[in-house]
């Protein structure tokens, strides 16, 4: 007996004037852009798209449990692979729930294309059910946004959106899709040859600027290389070129939170992260350098501290693909507009071409070694049986054990003290392994981001380092982990407080812990169980290592509740309004805080976040 096999109707080719329903044209455009995964949540306005997704296999849909998590998951996917993350949410509340994730992607320059449903074109502006002015609301929250009003625009807009999301400084793009456009017929259009009429960011650095930069670097006696997230966005080649450049020059380097992993953390030329919770040596070296090379960083306020005291005697070179980031906060002498990777490769060639000898920086390194000898990250962990776990120690052991086991590891974090400790104590040797919300500082980022990374790297070890307050913000994603059998490890540093808020309240507000205590916490072990995951707990130092090993060995998702010292503060710290050389060190260094008021803090500093 012959069987009749139902095949989906063949899509018209680009040359013909034939059309297909808008939703199918949309999926075809996504497929042609190389999309393999969409993170989303259904709703009335996007039912046509969900129907089309159901009838194809090329693109996989991951059902999250909150639209904000869909965007964070797409961010984790994008940051861990270098590809564009794709989100699909419905109109009205679906779109508004996504806004936090979009602003997060905008601040951290992550390429995202977010498809939002919309009421039919004839109902727009009528206060229809689940209608929101998505384009109006997301205009300041995105790099660019589109409302597709004509079927003929659909495919073209999709291709354009991907181009905008990934070109120049990457960022989130929203495409608002009215339901009638998705149901009615639309023609297909291939990816255009000329990607865009007005938006063509410059990526090649000007040779004269590169030559000026090299000439300046060769005169340096106390140089410093300051690495930012732009190197990660530029890709693996940029990281490779950076490593060769740093090694060739013999200069010290430091990284922002977003740039960690661009240069191997264990290398002796790396001084650690800089900034508000950066290392003593990195901050003092930035403060005292005479030539600073900024590659792909934006002189953010967490890094600079008080601007009029920031690196006062240095001459600065700033490489950035976004011209508006140059001379925004800090005036620089040699601006270089271009892609970080291309600029670094040009610097390498120009270094060799410039006849001046490489500068002797041995005296500078001797000074840096003195600062490193302070050992600013040291802490004391009791070894007594039943002793309390220090959060820094918990991360140190996580680092040691994951290194020992040698698996490809991705680390995401939530926001707060645990995030800073993770940046200080975990070592990142490669780019795209570190997923954190730097610019916006979104609590609830880490679990969905780790989920996105796990989808992209099914065999890797994906760990969300979390605080017990942050983890509750997107806890519903445990259900997504269960559905797709994603073995994400949630490593909670549970100190029963919103640690960073508590720290600032201790330092600046006379220890008045207003609303920063984590009251009525759930039992995380039972919580894990209820979400079909495995729960573990370590309450004292004897239990820690076993829990970490069990967590990593467990093939299912895990919540590990690590009870840590409640009173730990994150050091070093540059209090807001202070300068880089005004750091407060931890109690191990004998500079305890008096009267709950930090040294060097001004009233001006108090009003800064």
């Amino acid at each position: 007996m012959t069987q009749t096999i139902q095949t989906a109707p063949a899509l018209p080719d680009a040359a013909s004037a034939e059309t297909a329903p808008g939703a199918e044209i949309l999926l075809r455009a996504l497929k042609d852009q190389g999309v393999e995964v969409i993170f989303g949540y259904p709703g009335g306005a996007v039912l046509p798209i969900y129907d089309a997704i159901f009838q194809q296999n090329a693109i996989r849909h991951i059902l999250v449990r909150h639209e904000q998590a869909a965007v964070h998951a797409a961010e984790g996917y994008a940051r861990s692979t270098g590809r564009v993350g794709v989100v699909l949410v419905t109109s009205g509340p679906g779109a508004t729930n996504a806004v936090t994730g979009l602003v997060d992607a905008l601040m951290d320059s992550i390429p995202i294309v977010c498809l939002t449903g919309q009421v039919p074109t004839h109902l727009i502006g009528n206060d229809a059910f689940q209608e929101a002015d998505t384009t109006g609301i997301t205009r300041p929250a995105t790099k660019h946004n589109y409302l597709v009003k004509k079927p003929g625009d659909l495919a073209r807009v999709v291709h354009e959106a991907f181009y905008v999301a990934r070109s120049g400084r990457p960022g989130p793009v929203v495409i608002d899709l009215p339901k009638d456009i998705l149901i009615g017929p639309a023609p297909y259009a291939e990816k255009p040859e000329q990607p865009h009429r007005s938006y063509r960011p410059a990526t090649s650095p000007q040779p004269e600027q590169i030559a000026r930069a090299i000439a300046l670097l060769k005169t340096a006696k106390r140089p410093m290389i300051y690495i930012g997230g732009g190197v990660i966005n530029s890709g693996d080649r940029a990281s490779e070129a950076l490593i060769r450049f740093v090694r060739k020059t013999g200069f010290p380097c430091t990284s922002t939170l977003m740039g960690l992993g661009a240069y191997p953390s264990s290398d002796k030329q790396f001084l650690g992260m800089l900034g508000m919770h950066g290392t003593y040596e990195a901050n003092l070296a930035m403060h005292g350098c005479d030539v600073m090379l900024n590659v792909g960083a934006r002189f953010d306020d967490r890094v600079t501290g008080r601007l009029n005291a920031f690196s006062p005697d240095s001459r600065k070179i700033h490489i950035d693909i976004d011209p508006s980031s140059i001379n925004k906060n800090v005036a620089v002498e040699v601006p270089v507009i271009g892609d970080a990777g291309l600029a670094l490769e040009a610097l390498l060639e120009a270094w060799d071409a410039n006849p001046a000898a490489a500068p002797d920086v041995s005296t500078w390194w001797a000074q840096i070694a003195q600062w490193q000898a302070i050992d600013c990250l040291k802490f004391r962990q009791t070894r007594e049986k039943g002793g309390i776990i220090k959060p820094q120690h918990a991360l140190q052991r996580l680092q040691d054990i994951t290194r020992e086991l040698g698996r490809e590891t991705y680390i995401s974090t939530e926001v707060g003290q645990h995030q800073m400790w993770a940046a200080q104590y975990l070592r990142f040797e490669k780019p795209n392994r570190w997923l954190t919300s730097g610019g916006l500082g979104t609590m609830g980022y880490g679990l969905p981001a780790a989920m996105g990374a796990q989808i992209a790297h099914p065999d890797a070890l994906c760990i969300d380092v979390a605080g017990e307050a942050s983890i509750l913000m997107n806890i519903q994603e445990m259900a997504t982990l269960a559905q797709y059998r994603l073995p994400v490890k949630v490593f909670i540093l549970n100190n029963q407080y919103m640690g960073m808020v508590r720290q600032w309240q201790e330092l600046l507000h006379g220890s008045r812990y207003s609303e920063s205590y984590s009251e009525a916490l759930p039992d995380f072990v039972k919580l894990a169980d209820s979400f079909h995951a495995v729960g573990m707990r370590a309450t004292c130092i004897d239990e820690l290592d076993d829990v970490i090993r069990a967590m990593i060995a467990e093939p299912r998702a895990v919540i590990a509740d690590i009870c840590v010292d409640q009173k730990e503060n994150c050091f070093p710290m540059i209090p807001s309004g202070a300068a880089h050389n005004d750091m407060i060190l931890g109690p191990e260094h004998g500079t305890a805080l008096a009267d709950g008021r930090a040294a060097g803090l001004t009233d001006e500093g108090l009003v800064l976040v």
Binding site: R139, H144, L147, S198
Partner: protein
């Protein structure tokens, strides 16, 4: 380096060529309000129907670093083709159109008409008790004309913003 760190506030006339698409004006205004920049005057109109482009003229003010930021922020907007700083690029023309209504009678009305003649304004509406004068000139001349009419029955003013263009052969 000194130029960029100079703290004196200057006025800048910026023209940009943008895609004539829905929302582009909202985008530009949102940029200014979101970042706290001044808009002293703003005009927009299509200039190139065939290729769907518009020109936005903005008069703003700030320190040198702020003006550079404004230009860079405008330039990185996706629908923006080009940004030109007319104040920096040499001689340029800046013109506004004003419609000014005077309600008066007798000698006051006659004096208002004489004032209009003095400033080069023309009469576009006249009744026995009112005039509407139209003047297309620089902002300073229009300000002076309006100032002169304040005691002569000035009743209503309607002004466009500044349209500006570089002199000579250069274009933005």
């Amino acid at each position: 380096m000194n130029a960029i760190t100079d703290q004196t506030i200057r006025s800048a006339t910026i023209s940009c060529l943008v895609e004539n698409e829905a929302g582009v004006l909202a985008r530009v205004i949102g940029l200014f309000s979101g970042r706290g920049y001044n808009i002293d005057s703003l005009t927009v109109a299509p200039v190139d129907d065939g290729r769907g482009r518009s020109r936005i003229n903005i008069v703003t003010s700030g320190t040198a670093m702020v003006i550079e930021q404004i230009k860079a922020q405008l330039d990185r907007l996706v629908p923006v083709y080009r940004v030109g700083d007319l104040t920096m690029s040499g001689a340029h023309l800046a013109r506004e159109l004003a419609l000014v209504k005077v309600i008066a009678d007798g000698q006051m009305l006659i004096d208002a008409l004489l004032e209009a003649g003095r400033h080069g304004a023309r009469v576009v509406d006249a009744t026995t008790g009112s005039f509407i004068f139209e003047l297309s000139e620089s902002t300073e001349v229009i300000d002076a004309f309006i100032g002169a009419l304040r005691s002569l029955g000035l009743a209503e003013i309607s002004r466009t913003g500044v349209a500006a263009m570089a002199c000579g052969t250069s274009t933005i």
